[in-house]
Every structure is written in structure tokens, then in C-alpha cells.
């Protein structure tokens, strides 16, 4: 068995809304697969189909060699799931929820559970109603990670975690990988996926627009540069890998493919740097540029989340 998940041409309609429009997905056994897409692109709907919570209107899905709808219970023994929006029972403690979910899945490794509670710094004696979003997410993460599931399906698992916990999470996922488990990691944070994933699928409006290993998708990774130089920088436009070059107010703006970054920066330095801002691309920019290359017109959007993106470099 080489594919943990395969999905071909998945279609799902909610009334008049088409949530999935022929989505394809392939996750190989033993890899971390990044599942990227903007909000509302159909990531969660796909995951719910893979879990047998929703039935696809068309298309075919296989999870661990079984049919996710018909073999739901059997498959659920072998996988663990962390929802993007974790809702807990207000009257139960976090520790109780972890035990209940793990037991319903078929059992848990007691030692591993306590270890995870320790490293995620979770207080298991608090009631569900008093947990913050991040702590609710930790409860679901501990319940999933403490199991011996072959496949983990994680839907935006770090959206409520602080940066330290995010780092802890990454380490735990790497350990899982060493055990030979498979992870489907849905996210809209590119850097998280870059840090963990072997391969990536990018979806938009219910369709897969890109899929492959990170190296194969290298052409999607561009850095935005805004520079002010002593000598005129117009010549930069002609360098290989430079796109969308604009010059205004004495500054130049452009995007450059990552593999051409080094010669471009050397050239800027030679011209004499007054100021230099470099930002990794946000997912939206990536998708937009991808669509532009395909000849589909797309409007330019303002830089999304420049602060977060900047902070990471």
C-alpha cells in the first residue's frame, strides 16, 4: 500500500453552493501532506468526506484502502482526527474528554497521554467551558496524538496555539513521521506546511490547483522585494526570475523566484541600498500569481498579513 488517501473528482453541493468541484488528492503512506487553501476553499468539507461524516455527491475516495463512507467505523480505529474548531462539553474536564475520545477510538497509550499533556502544558482538570481556544485545541491534539493511529487528519491544528506550542507541535509531528505514520495537515499558513510537509496539495474553490512535492512547487515560491537604491534600479527588471516589476516614488517593487534570489540581492547591493524590505509570499498571492500564469485574470490584492510573514524571516 503506497497511498494512504486517494480522492478523485470529489463533488459536494450544499444546496445551491458547490463546496467541492472535482477535487483530487493523493497522500502517500508515511508522508506529511500539506493541504493548503484559503478559507472556504473546501479543505474541511474534503476532510469530512474522508471521515465519512459527509457523503460525496460524485467522485471516489479511498482511505487506508477502504471506503470512508461504508467502512467508517473500521477505518476510524486506524485514524485520528483533530477538528479545526474544537468544541468541548462544558461540564467535562479536558482529561475526561481525552480519555473518552481515545477509548471510543479503541484505546490509548497511558504513558504517551501523560507525556503529551506535560509537553503541551495542558491542565487536564479544567472544565471544558473554561478552556481558551488554544487549550481546547490541545485537548483534541492530545487525544489524537496519544493514539496509535496510522493516519492523522489534522484540520488547521495550530490556529489557536502560541509560537512555542506551535514549535512543540512540529516536533511531535516529526516524531510521528519517524514512527512511519501518515499525516494530512490542512492549513492556510504556508510556513507551517513548509516546515513539516513532504508534499503539498493546493486547493481553491473546491478544486486542486497544484499538487506535488515542495521541490516541484518551487516555482510558486516567490519573495516580494521593495527596495530603494542609490543608483537607478530599473535594470533589475531584466534579471532572470524577476516578475511584476514596478517602479514608483523612487522605489522598486518586484517578486523574485527563490532560486534567483541570490544574484538579484547581489545586484541590489551593488547599486547601493537605502532601504530594503523582503517578504515571503502569502498563500493568496501564490494562488493569484498561479492563476495569472494560467491566463486567468485575477485582481491584485493588498499584501495579506505582512507582519506575520515578515516576522518569520
Amino acid at each position: 500500500m503506497t497511498a494512504a488517501i486517494t480522492a478523485r473528482g470529489l463533488v459536494k453541493n450544499f444546496g445551491a453552493t458547490r463546496a467541492l468541484d472535482g477535487l483530487d488528492l493523493e497522500v502517500k503512506t508515511g508522508e506529511v501532506h500539506g493541504f493548503l487553501g484559503p478559507n472556504g476553499s473546501g479543505k474541511t468539507t474534503t476532510i469530512r468526506i474522508l471521515l465519512g461524516l459527509l457523503r460525496a455527491d460524485a467522485g471516489e475516495a479511498r482511505v487506508l484502502g477502504g471506503d470512508p463512507w461504508h467502512d467508517a467505523v473500521e477505518l476510524h480505529r486506524r485514524l485520528a482526527y483533530v477538528p479545526g474548531d474544537v468544541n468541548l462539553w462544558p461540564e467535562l474536564t479536558g482529561g475526561e474528554v481525552i480519555d473518552v475520545l481515545a477509548k471510543l477510538r479503541g484505546g490509548l497509550d497511558r504513558r504517551r497521554r501523560d507525556e503529551l499533556i506535560e509537553i503541551f502544558q495542558l491542565d487536564p482538570t479544567k472544565k471544558g467551558r473554561s478552556y481558551s481556544k488554544g487549550n481546547r485545541q490541545k485537548v483534541a491534539l492530545v487525544a489524537a496524538l496519544a493514539s496509535d493511529a496510522e493516519l492523522l487528519i489534522l484540520d488547521e491544528p495550530t490556529s489557536g496555539l502560541d509560537p512555542l506550542m506551535e514549535a512543540t507541535f512540529r516536533q511531535v509531528v516529526r516524531d510521528l513521521l519517524d514512527d512511519g505514520r501518515t499525516v494530512l495537515l490542512s492549513s492556510h499558513i504556508l510556513s507551517e506546511v513548509e516546515a513539516l510537509a513532504d508534499s503539498v496539495s493546493i486547493i481553491r474553490q473546491g478544486r486542486t490547483v497544484e499538487s506535488g512535492t515542495l521541490d516541484e512547487l518551487r516555482h510558486l515560491r516567490r519573495t516580494s522585494i521593495t527596495a530603494e537604491t542609490v543608483e537607478p534600479a530599473i535594470g533589475l527588471a531584466a534579471l532572470p526570475g524577476v516578475h511584476d516589476f514596478r517602479a514608483e516614488n523612487g522605489q522598486v517593487h518586484f517578486e523574485v523566484d527563490s532560486e534567483h534570489l541570490d544574484p538579484v540581492i547581489r545586484e541590489i547591493a551593488r547599486l547601493g541600498v537605502r532601504s530594503l524590505i523582503s517578504q515571503p509570499p502569502t498563500l493568496e498571492q501564490l494562488l493569484l500569481s498561479h492563476y495569472m500564469e494560467d491566463g486567468v485574470p485575477a485582481q491584485r490584492v493588498a499584501d495579506g498579513e505582512p507582519e506575520r510573514a515578515g516576522a518569520r524571516r
Binding site: H76, L104, T125
Partner: protein
């Protein structure tokens, strides 16, 4: 220090004093906007029920003799515990009836209305982080609490106005303007009192459920104290705000100073809430949530044990409530005969089965009422999976190795098993109450069997809910219509002279009216079979549909 600097300091101080209430008007309008459906529904149902009751009294009690028989009933300690002190029973006018038998019940509902309103606009907002959103703007620290209190006070005053104007307008003899004013202001006073109590509870508990439980507990305690007091010489009733409202003796010989008691204590308790709010940190309560177990017990890890745990407190309160319901009605048994004998209207209501004694018919009616009341639990417990699903809590459970049938089934086991247990407890309560009142227990067994024999009908109603859950979960609340119809047909059908087929449309009508009728097995088998079919349909359709998520 120069004069200028002092003035400046004073100005600064004044700004600070003012600022704790900044934004009050805007918040009040905002609260009104959020409650624009809720408040009118509460006000309309309370006012209309009260006014219709007053209006219908002359139909029920045509003569002074009949009213005096009703007054006899009020001499029973159990009846006084339930309703209130027997003011004016010497000459039991319609006004006295309202004051004795209606006011006590109304105070409970007005209290619940005020408590839910305060918690919703204070602690619930704080718990979900909405208050944070509001307080981050130019809004004073006390403004949300005071806005909620003003909303509750205003709502209660509007209710008082509706009743003070509406009751005398009905034109029933002895229900006059002065008495109605006492009745209405006393009622509103109790509502405002419990709004203040809820405001304190919202400072003490750090979650809305805890705040509601605490304030509703205080309401229940106040009712119990008044009940105990009115059973005896009435001294204890002075410890309960409900007792104060009834001590105003509306429609009998009004006195107004108990209203001052209500006002003074409401203000004091309200100010305590404001002071507590000033002292505590945002987001915390004076009493923090207690930590719970760090791991799940063996019972909790089983699906049915999990479903049971989620409904444990609901089951316990239903058991206590239905037992008390049965016991109180049972204890009225000996009084009922003398009271009803000559009253044609009440006789029609009781719908005597030919050949049965009045007491047996009355017991049968109470048992039907018990079954209809218990059906509320059945429907709520069967609807639990629906609320789990729409709150997004079904998703993580259903993505474990539990089948949908087993998940839904475990909730059905609690709903259907719970219905049986609750009918048994209600029946035992009724049997005990009747036995103690009459001094003989020869009917005990029959009463308990009669109560339990309604279980298949409850299962049938639960089955309807289960089938809807599988087929059309969004339409699930339609099952409540069955209850509303049954309540009308079974309780008032005789009085309203419903034709036979309309009475038979209610599922409760088909069960043998024991002890007035003999036990019949067939309807029970039919309802059990129907329930099984409906549940099978619900389980089968639930397996095939999408799970809706939050």
C-alpha cells in the same frame, strides 16, 4: 496647591466617576435590540395568561357557593404550600382567588424571566468574550451590568403596567384597579428582586450556567420557604420575597408597605452586585470553577455512560420535580371530592368515566398530566443528539470507532429508559401522597401501574422525534406540536366539547385511564411497536445522511 490645579483634579475625578457608566444608553438600546423578540414573548405570555385566567374565573365558579368550596381547598396545607397564604378565604372573591392561586405561580415565572435576562446580558457575555469586545470601546466598567439591571427593571415595570391596566379592564367583579395595582407591583417587585439576585450570582460564578443555577436555586429556596411558612402560621413566609408580594393582600385589604421591603432589598442587593463587580477582575468570578478529575471513569468511557453523564443533572431534577408533582397532587386527594362535587365545570374538566368514582377519575387525569409533563423530558433527551450535532460536538465523537447507530442509540437508551424511570417515580410520588392524605394505601399499586403504563406512549413520542432526527433534523422541533395538542385535547377536550375523533387524535387518550378504567394491554403493545418502527426509521435514515457541523 493652586486653585486651578484643584479644579483640574476635581474635574479629573468627576470624569472618572462618570466613566464607569459611559456608554450605558447605547448598551441598553443594544440589549433591547438583542431581546426584541424574547421580551415581548415573555411579556405577552405572562400578561395574557394572567388576564385570561381572571376572565375565565366567572365561568368556572358561577356561584358564591362554588367559590366557597374552592376556598375550602385552600385550607389544605398542601394547597397553601403550592399557591400561597389563604388571604380572604372567608369571602372567596375572584380577586382573592387571583391573589391566592395565581400570584404565587406568576412570581416563579417572573423570577425565571429576570434571572435568565440578567445572566444572558452579563456573565454569558463575559464568558464568551463579547463583553471584552464591548469594554474595549469607550464603555465604562459598570455599564454592562447596570444596563442589564435597567433592562430587567424596565421589563418588569412594563409587565406591571400591562397587568395594572389589563386586569381591571376585563371587568370581573372584585378585580378592581387598586387591587390590580397591588397585584402587579408586587409581582414586578419579585421580578426585580431576583434580577438583583442574579446580578450578584453573575459576579460570584465565573460561568453562566453556574450563575443561573445559583440564582434559580435562590428562587427555588424562596418558594420553598414561603411554602413552608404558608403551610404553618405564615411567619417563615416573611423570609421570602414571594411572601412579601402576597402579604400585600391584593384584592382583599391592600397594604403597601411590603412593597417597600421589596424595593429596599432589591436596591441593596443590586448595589452589592455593582460593588462586587467593581472589586473583581474581568473574566473571573468570586468563586472559581472547581477543577475536575484529570481522567475519565470507566462508566464515562462507555457510550451510554457518556450520554448518561451529559444528562445526569437533568434526570435528577426531573425525578425530584415529578416526584413532588405526584406527591402534591396526591395529597390533595381527600379535599378534591368536597370541592368538585357540585361544580359542573370542574366535573366536565375531569371527564368522569361512567361508573368510576370521582376520585378515580381525578387520579386518572393527574396521571395523564404527569405523562404529558414527563414527555417534555422524553423529547428533550431525544433531541440531545441534535444539539450535540449543531454545536459541533458530534463530529469528534463520530470520527472515532463508534458507529452512528451506537452513538444515537446510546442517547435513545437514556431518553426511553429515563422516561420509564421518571413515570415510575412520578407514580410512586402520587401513590404515596394519596396514601398519606387518605390514610390507606390500597390504591398505591394501581396508581403506580397506571403511571408506568403511559411509558409506551412516551416512547412513541420519542420515536417521532427520533424519526425526524434521521429524516429532517431541522424540523425536529415539530414534535412539540404533539404535546401542545395532547395538552389541549386531554386536559380541556371535555370542557371544550371536542368530538370523539379529536380526543382520540391524542396518543395519550388511548391508554386505559386507570384507576377509573381497567388495564388494557393492547394499546401498550401497539404503541411499543409503533415506537420501535419509528426508532428503526430514525436510526436507518440517520446512518445515511450527512452530519451537519457548526
Amino acid at each position: 496647591m493652586t486653585a486651578g490645579a484643584t479644579a483640574q483634579a476635581r474635574a479629573r475625578q468627576e470624569t472618572r466617576r462618570e466613566s464607569s457608566l459611559t456608554g450605558l444608553g447605547m448598551l441598553l438600546r443594544f440589549n433591547l435590540r438583542r431581546d426584541r423578540v424574547r421580551i415581548p414573548v415573555w411579556l405577552a405570555s405572562l400578561a395574557i395568561t394572567t388576564i385570561i385566567t381572571a376572565w375565565s374565573l366567572p365561568d368556572f365558579y358561577a356561584s358564591a357557593v362554588e367559590r366557597q368550596q374552592r376556598a375550602e381547598l385552600m385550607n389544605n396545607p398542601a394547597a397553601r404550600a403550592l399557591a400561597g397564604p389563604a388571604h380572604g378565604v372567608e369571602d372567596y372573591t375572584f380577586g382573592a382567588m387571583m391573589a391566592n392561586e395565581m400570584l404565587g405561580f406568576l412570581t416563579i415565572f417572573v423570577g425565571i424571566m429576570s434571572i435568565l435576562m440578567i445572566t444572558r446580558h452579563t456573565r454569558a457575555n463575559e464568558e464568551t468574550g463579547r463583553t471584552e469586545l464591548v469594554l474595549a470601546n469607550v464603555v465604562g466598567r459598570q455599564a454592562p451590568l447596570v444596563a442589564a439591571l435597567l433592562l430587567a427593571i424596565g421589563t418588569n415595570l412594563v409587565l406591571a403596567l400591562l397587568l395594572a391596566v389589563g386586569l381591571p379592564a376585563v371587568g370581573v367583579e372584585t378585580i378592581d384597579a387598586v387591587g390590580s395595582l397591588a397585584f402587579a407591583t408586587g409581582l414586578a417587585g419579585v421580578g426585580i428582586f431576583f434580577a438583583a439576585v442574579a446580578a450578584v450570582a453573575a459576579q460570584i460564578s465565573d460561568n453562566s450556567r453556574g450563575a443561573n443555577t445559583m440564582a434559580l436555586g435562590a428562587l427555588g429556596l424562596a418558594y420553598a420557604i414561603r411554602g413552608a411558612g404558608d403551610m404553618g402560621d405564615g411567619t417563615l413566609s416573611w423570609l421570602s420575597p414571594m411572601g412579601w408580594a402576597q402579604a400585600m393582600r391584593s384584592y382583599v385589604d391592600e397594604r403597601w408597605w411590603p412593597l417597600a421591603l421589596l424595593a429596599a432589598f432589591s436596591i441593596a442587593i443590586g448595589m452589592l452586585a455593582v460593588e462586587l463587580n467593581r472589586r473583581r477582575d474581568f473574566g473571573t468570578g468570586l468563586r472559581a470553577s472547581r477543577p475536575g478529575p484529570a481522567g475519565a471513569s470507566a462508566l464515562l468511557k462507555r457510550p451510554a455512560g457518556f450520554a448518561l453523564r451529559l444528562q445526569r443533572s437533568s434526570l435528577i431534577s426531573w425525578a425530584v420535580g415529578l416526584f413532588a408533582f405526584g406527591a402534591l397532587y396526591g395529597s390533595l386527594l381527600t379535599e378534591i371530592e368536597s370541592f368538585v362535587e357540585d361544580n359542573e365545570t370542574i366535573l366536565e374538566l375531569i371527564e368522569r368515566v361512567s361508573g368510576a368514582s370521582l376520585i378515580d377519575s381525578w387520579l386518572a387525569l393527574v396521571i395523564t398530566l404527569l405523562a404529558i409533563t414527563c414527555s417534555v423530558f422524553t423529547i428533550m433527551a431525544t433531541s440531545r443528539p441534535r444539539s450535540e450535532e449543531s454545536a459541533g460536538r458530534a463530529e469528534p465523537v463520530l470520527s472515532t470507532a463508534i458507529s452512528r447507530t451506537r452513538w444515537f442509540g446510546s442517547y435513545l437508551v437514556i431518553a426511553l429508559g429515563g422516561s420509564f424511570v421518571l413515570m415510575l417515580i412520578g407514580g410512586v410520588g402520587l401513590g404515596l401522597g394519596a396514601g398519606i392524605a387518605s390514610g390507606e394505601f390500597d390504591q398505591f399499586q394501581e396508581v403506580v401501574i397506571a403511571a408506568v403504563s403511559y411509558t409506551p406512549v412516551l416512547w412513541f413520542v420519542g420515536g417521532l422525534a427520533a424519526a425526524l432526527y434521521g429524516l429532517a433534523p431541522r424540523a425536529m422541533s415539530a414534535v412539540w406540536l404533539v404535546l401542545v395538542y395532547a395538552l389541549t385535547a386531554d386536559m380541556l377536550g371535555g370542557l371544550l366539547q371536542f368530538p370523539e375523533w379529536m380526543l382520540e387524535l391524542s396518543p395519550y387518550d388511548h391508554v386505559a385511564k386507570m384507576p377509573a378504567e381497567d388495564f388494557r394491554l393492547l394499546p401498550l403493545l401497539v404503541f411499543t411497536a409503533l415506537a420501535a418502527g419509528l426508532i428503526a426509521l430514525g436510526l436507518a435514515t440517520f446512518r445515511r445522511r450527512d452530519i451537519e457541523s457548526a
